[in-house]
């Protein structure tokens, strides 16, 4: 019914303890399941989330309402360790401008934008994933994991996109035991597919579309409909070195992923039909991660510290094509004239943290103190005409939460505070286009803005007698106050059971 080295019963803080006691979880290696020595630990919950306020990205909706159902569990059958999860999410993002892609913050400049705003994005997504691992002898453990996400997003106003999104990850892995040291290696394959069909319901009506190429540069189309297809393949690996004794558990890892994404348009031009696919662009990216988590396990407390460094470098290539008649039968096709590497970006994120987790009766949570610092730098360039944007931000955060117990019932109260400050940043544009003025200038103001974000979380748990361990209700509120006078509130409430 619970993790063998933590609690008799599974509760909300069981999952906090699992992540503190098992640094392997920060890796993507499925073979690490066998290192965690878990019996059945599970959670099933329903969540409602609400975001509201003007302190946001330009391509983010004014309001976001989310309804989510999640279930997740670890378990063990003989010497095979398993995990599995399922998630259903329905959301409504209201007051949305300048976006026809499901996620405009995916580190690609190649987006489809229309100029008629105040849209609502209605999204419905399913995701599921699982993994297993099994030791073979004393030294070798093998594992395999996979997950997928599939969903549909659609807008309610002309021009109205329908985005069919599919995402999957597959990872085989192994861990080799050298005593106190363990070596891990797993391979990663990811695939992302987003097919967008934009239609205009009003008859005989066209709209302006921009296919963006980065930092305000875009190609303009006036059309009655528009199609786009994104395909991304990612391949890479993750290596780990772990050290473990009775008091210390530490995992260091390094991950490298190569991404290649193409964007193609089914644009209707002249007398061409949708069968003529125009190649718009290609995006190549390298993602490098370096991470560590080290936990010191004591009888009445756990201390953990670590870091994660994430570096994404992106290279964008525009494909210059023109629709031309290709033979005497008056058939048209897109003819490629050139391919130009015109976009580059580098995104660096560094997070360091320290966590002190005080236990009560050696197994229950007493209080938890968390300190963290985050550094984020981003630079992107478009070449000819030359456009540049960069910013560097530093953030500090502290959170504290304490549990109170009364007749096997538990009340958790927590406070948190985060402060973000901009270190430097600038936009050097040689051409202030429509897209630059409407999206990039105000978005940069947001990204380079300082903010303070206090937060509060409350959780209440009561024990159950039969199938499930605990019934819980959990709520968090985060308030963001920017120094530009804007604010945003993020509220979540969830309820469910642990087992």
């Amino acid at each position: 019914m619970a993790s063998s080295d933590t609690l008799q019963r599974t509760s909300l803080h069981s999952f906090e303890l699992i992540s503190l006691q098992n640094p392997w979880l920060i890796s993507s290696n499925p073979a690490a399941l066998s290192q965690m020595n878990l019996s059945l630990v599970g959670i099933m919950n329903a969540r409602y989330g609400n975001e509201d306020g003007s302190f946001k990205r330009v391509q983010q909706g004014d309001k976001l309402n989310t309804y989510q159902f999640t279930t997740f569990s670890y378990s063990q059958i003989k010497d095979i360790s398993l995990y599995g999860g399922f998630n259903y999410e329905k959301s409504f993002e209201k007051g949305l401008d300048y976006s026809n892609v499901n996620d405009p913050f995916r580190l690609t400049p190649y987006q489809v934008i229309d100029t008629i705003g105040n849209d609502t994005y209605d999204r419905e997504f399913f995701s599921a994933g699982g993994g297993l691992s099994k030791p073979f002898g004393d030294r070798l453990t093998l594992g395999l994991s996979g997950d997928f996400k599939v969903g549909l997003a659609s807008q309610n106003k002309d021009p109205r996109p329908r985005n069919k999104v599919f995402y999957m990850t597959l990872s085989p892995g192994m861990i080799y035991n050298l005593g106190k040291f363990k070596l891990g290696l797993n391979f990663l394959y990811k695939y992302y597919n987003e097919e967008i069909e934009i239609s205009i319901v009003r008859s005989n009506t066209t709209a302006a579309f921009f296919t963006a190429h980065g930092l305000g540069m875009a190609t303009y189309h006036e059309a009655g409909s528009f199609n786009r297809l994104y395909k991304r393949n990612s391949k890479g690996f993750d290596i780990q070195l772990a050290y473990e004794n009775s008091k210390i558990r530490s995992v260091n890892g390094s991950r490298l992923l190569y991404h290649e994404e193409t964007a193609g348009d089914g644009r209707k031009a002249s007398n061409a039909s949708w069968a003529y696919l125009k190649k718009d662009s290609r995006l190549n990216a390298i993602q490098f991660d370096l991470y560590n988590q080290t936990s010191f396990l004591h009888t009445d407390n756990i201390q953990s510290f670590g870091y994660s460094l994430n570096i994404n470098t992106v290279l964008g290539t525009e494909i210059i094509q023109r629709l031309e008649q290709v033979n005497d039968l008056e058939l048209d096709d897109w003819i490629t004239y050139d391919e130009e590497e015109k976009y580059g970006a580098e995104d660096v994120k560094l997070n360091v943290y320290y966590q002190f987790y005080k236990l009560k009766n050696n197994k229950q949570k007493n209080f938890n103190l968390n300190l963290h610092a985050d550094y984020h730098s981003f630079i992107e360039n478009y070449f000819v005409p030359n456009q540049e944007e960069y910013y560097k931000n530093l953030a500090f955060g502290v959170s504290f939460d304490k549990n109170f117990y009364h007749h096997k019932k538990s009340l958790s109260l927590g406070l948190k505070l985060k402060y973000k400050m901009n270190l430097e940043g600038a936009q050097n544009f040689s051409d202030f286009t429509y897209i630059a003025e409407r999206i990039f200038v105000p978005d940069f103001e947001f990204l380079s803005c300082n903010y303070i974000a206090p937060g509060l979380n409350v959780a209440y748990e009561i024990p159950l007698r039969k199938i499930f361990d605990q019934l819980f209700i959990n709520s968090t509120v985060d308030l963001y106050f920017g120094n530009n006078g804007q604010s945003r509130t993020i509220f979540n409430i969830s309820t469910g059971v642990t087992f």
């Binding site: 050298l178 040291f181 070596l183 009003r202 008859s203 005989n204 009506t205 066209t206 709209a207 302006a208 190429h213 540069m217 875009a218 190609t219 303009y220 189309h221 006036e222 290596i239 780990q240 070195l241 050290y243 260091n252 390094s254 490298l256 031009a269 002249s270 007398n271 190549n284 990216a285 390298i286 993602q287 490098f288 370096l290 570096i311 470098t313 992106v314 290279l315 964008g316 210059i320 023109r322 004239y337 050139d338 130009e340 590497e341 015109k342 976009y343 580059g344 580098e346 360039n381 070449f383 000819v384 005409p385 051409d431 286009t433």
Partner: protein, 390 residues
């Protein structure tokens, strides 16, 4: 030891994760205007040259010096057009226009000749061209409100009698079939203002409106309350005598001289396919009929569709209208008539029109810009304001 190994591996990975810098090209475009006895260094000095990226739509402007050569540097690869536009006084009361245009594929540094023509402005100009139509409250398309406004840009009374308006044969979605006739334009529609020469005066600084349907589109129950114009006072109407389908309103009817694709009413292409021109064929209807009949052309000997060939010398004013920048390569009007092109970016059913820019106001009389280059001369996405000169 193991930690050192893993850090060493990480450093190797970090180094290998560095993406190479973008490898991009930029080129130089050298444009040369051929100088001659007519096109002198003084003529081209200070002429504005506009380079337009046809895919992305942005423009780069520069002034030419007296050498007739201009350089654009740091130009990204792509498809471009360059237009030259320059007006200068050639007498106490006359203005000459120097216009030129060239289309280019720029995938290396290139040197191109920019052909230019000299022309003079006429008294009558197209002040407004409203073709996009509007949307009804029920989201139905409405294009009964299309019109063309003709303005007297001179300081003398001009008679509109016998002035014809023509629509070019091509909608500009493919290469113009008639490029082998550079001295003419070919029309699918010719409509003429009636009169014997002294019937329809246009005072200096005033205009006449040629309406598709001359009624109050805003308030009439058969109209569209969201339409931007009331054309109840339109001076002339394109009325088609076809089984009673087209209502004959009070305005004076234009004369139907040629209507190749004859239907229940005329219609300008709502997306911008209709390039139009004012032409002076002949005031006398018989003489005009003879000219048109003697200049009918068709695309093949099997075709039953006949079009009217109009000499460039008959053109008073022309407006090259295209769908968008990407379709500018299908420009139809010769440089001498319109060196540029224009369109309504807001698109069909937008209720927006093309309006000529004001050059100056002389003693209360508005003088509109007329350089025979519609890229320069017209405002895009304007609200229709017939009979208003501001």
């Amino acid at each position: 030891m193991m930690k050192k190994i893993i850090y060493l591996i990480s450093i190797v990975l970090l180094v290998s994760s560095c993406m190479k810098k973008p490898d991009y090209n930029s080129y130089i475009i050298e444009l040369t205007v051929p100088l001659s006895e007519e096109i002198t260094p003084e003529t081209v000095n200070n002429a504005k040259v506009t380079l337009i990226n046809l895919q992305k739509g942005y423009t780069i402007e520069a002034l030419m010096d007296s050498t007739g050569v201009i350089l654009f540097t740091s130009i990204e690869p792509g498809f471009y057009s360059a237009t030259l536009s320059h007006s200068f006084p050639t007498g106490a009361f006359t203005t000459s226009n120097l216009n030129g245009m060239v289309q280019m594929e720029v995938f290396s540094s290139i040197s191109e000749t920019l052909p230019v023509v000299l022309s003079t402005s006429n008294a009558l100009v197209i002040k407004e061209y409203y073709y996009s139509g509007s949307l009804t409250p029920a989201s139905k398309s409405y294009y009964s409100d299309q019109y063309v406004e003709i303005y007297n840009n001179s300081d003398m009374v001009v008679f509109a009698d016998g002035v014809s308006i023509i629509e070019h044969e091509s909608y500009g979605i493919g290469t113009n079939y008639w490029t082998f006739m550079p001295d003419s334009i070919v029309a699918r529609m010719i409509w003429t203002i009636p009169g014997s020469g002294n019937d329809y005066p246009i005072n200096p600084g005033h205009s006449i409106v040629l309406a598709k349907d001359a009624f109050d589109h805003k308030d009439d129950p058969n109209g569209n309350p969201d339409c931007p114009v009331n054309l109840g006072n339109a001076d002339f109407e394109f009325w088609v005598d076809y089984k009673g389908y087209d209502i004959d309103f009070n305005s004076t009817n234009m004369i139907e001289d040629l209507f190749t694709f004859r239907g229940s009413d005329i219609a300008f292409h709502v997306r911008g396919g209709s390039a139009i021109a004012l032409v002076n064929i002949a005031i006398d209807p018989v003489e005009r009929r003879n000219y048109i009949d003697n200049n009918l052309v068709r695309k093949s000997s099997y075709s039953t569709r006949w079009y009217g060939r109009i000499a460039n010398t008959m053109v008073i004013d022309a407006v090259e209208v295209v769908f968008d920048e990407a379709h500018a390569e299908y420009k139809r009007m010769p440089l001498v008539l319109d060196a540029g092109y224009t369109y309504v970016p807001a698109g069909s059913k937008s209720g927006k029109c093309l309006r000529r820019k004001i050059e100056t106001i002389i003693n209360g009389r508005t003088v509109y810009q007329d350089t025979n280059n519609s890229t320069e001369d017209f405002l895009k996405d304007s609200d229709p304001k017939p009979w208003i000169y501001e």
